[in-house]
Amino acid sequence: MKFRGKVWKFGDDVNTDAIIPARYLNTSDPQELAAHCMEDADPEFFQNVDAGDFIVAGKNFGCGSSREHAPISIKHAQIAAVIAGSFARIFYRNAFNMGLAILECPSAAAELETGEELEVDLVKGTIFNRSKKRSYQAEPIPDFMQKLLKAGGLIPYVQQKIKQEAEDA
């Protein structure tokens, strides 16, 4: 699970209303939610972002509402991973349940700037800034969470497990 892409940098306490404003919560269509991703923080985010890019932010990313529409919107905007100093509790849980990769790394969160090129290995938790030739080590993603990410989220993971058990039986 290695990714290469550009940094899109945001500040501390990015809340779920900033990630996906409530005025768009009258739908749960992933593509529509993606089209409004980060809109109130950067209205052109979705137009400018490329598949495989990274959101980088400070502490407490994803605070506020429990809306799972937030990680869905980021995932379907084709963001490879969110790297932050820390994550709010509900967002952390929702991200893995949705199969959105997130990495906690305060030093990278502090130093990375918009536009810099990254190479990220999710399994090892390594972040390499290709623009500045600097490396960072994030908290590695726990095994169980890696399984969720590989499956694409909690529900596909449970489906795979049920299928596997049926085949084994």
């Binding site: 009258n26 407490n60 605070c63 049920i162």
Partner: protein, 421 residues
Amino acid sequence: MSLTISEKILAAHSSQESVSPGELIEADLDFVLGNDITAPLAIKAFKESGAVRVFDAERISLIPDHFIPNKDIQSATQAKIMREFAIEQKLVHYYEVGRAGIEHALLPEAGLVLPGDLIIGADSHTCTYGALGAFSCGVGSTDLAAAMITGQLWFKVPPSIKLIFSGTRKPFIRGKDLILYTIGQIGVDGARYRAIEFAGPVIESLPMDDRFTMANMAVEAGAKAGIIAPDARTEAYVKLRAKRKYAFYQSDSDAQYEQLHSWDISDLEPQVACPHSPGNVRSVNELRNIKIDQVVIGSCTNGRLDDMRLAAKILKNRKVARNVRLIVIPATREVYRECLKEGHIKIFMDAEAVVSTPTCGPCLGGYMGILAEGERAISTTNRNFVGRMGHPKSEVYLSSPAVAAASAVLGRIAHPEEILT
């Protein structure tokens, strides 16, 4: 082994004598809830997982409250998904429009969430029920799906933070001022992944409605739960409402806390959170020259009967300032009925406020009071993030109902003392 209330509830629900912070447990849930925004995604996950029936049709409540009565075709479609699922699964506690109210005011009032319970809800303000001495926390839709299927969920036992409030409250100092003060002190991530325990003589003196306000906004400090030890006031509140057995848990005197803060609030003035963070808190006295366009009194934070009484006391025989809109939203039908009986609705209407049936509406910028570019509101709701109540270039200040009502009359942020001495 000495335990906090939170640890005792989590231990009791995972069939253990004790649990400690950091431990992962799988626990049985007493109650599970979702709303018209979060339930449709959970229902999709429920169906995709291949599940057929919910674990218990009496332990799940689905409540349309965010965009109801439906504001547009899309929100009507979401509500329809939830309604059809509730019918198919024979959910006892599905509340149709006309019987519904704002979930976190409705469920305690209906006696469906109780002291000692372990509760999850796909809404971040599910932490409200901590006011009853329950362990209650918000989750996402996929966790709601898992909970609806199995009646269980995994938890990481949180460390606890104890906040002790002492002194005497000045007039007009309510639960909202205390929780805004708290968030101002510890920050919007000050209790991240933690359980907050609110304690001390000031908390013991607080009516239930104020306790709900405090527990409700624990999540605004990043907390997993905000809990208040149940006492005689709790007993008086639940004994007439409870639909099943409940249990009072108390923290042991030598329970372990990760942090302990003690605050004397005797000099505390009404608190206001300024844009764009619930942690950007100042005394109302520093903000008295700020003009406003709109005032909202309601929400799961401050839409209960005591909140309405306080607003009515200030608005009685007065008018909302020219060019200011006041929107009052009693949080449930019971609150609305009591407001009718006690004459508050007449006071609001005479003051030239808009009075709405229960809805979350403007709190999250859904509908029923959206702000235009450059507009400013003071609101008794819980969040004032960029764009929360409408245009990204609008502003929201958060306050108690007393400050909001006084501000509506004077057309600027005001201390209630300026109206009632």
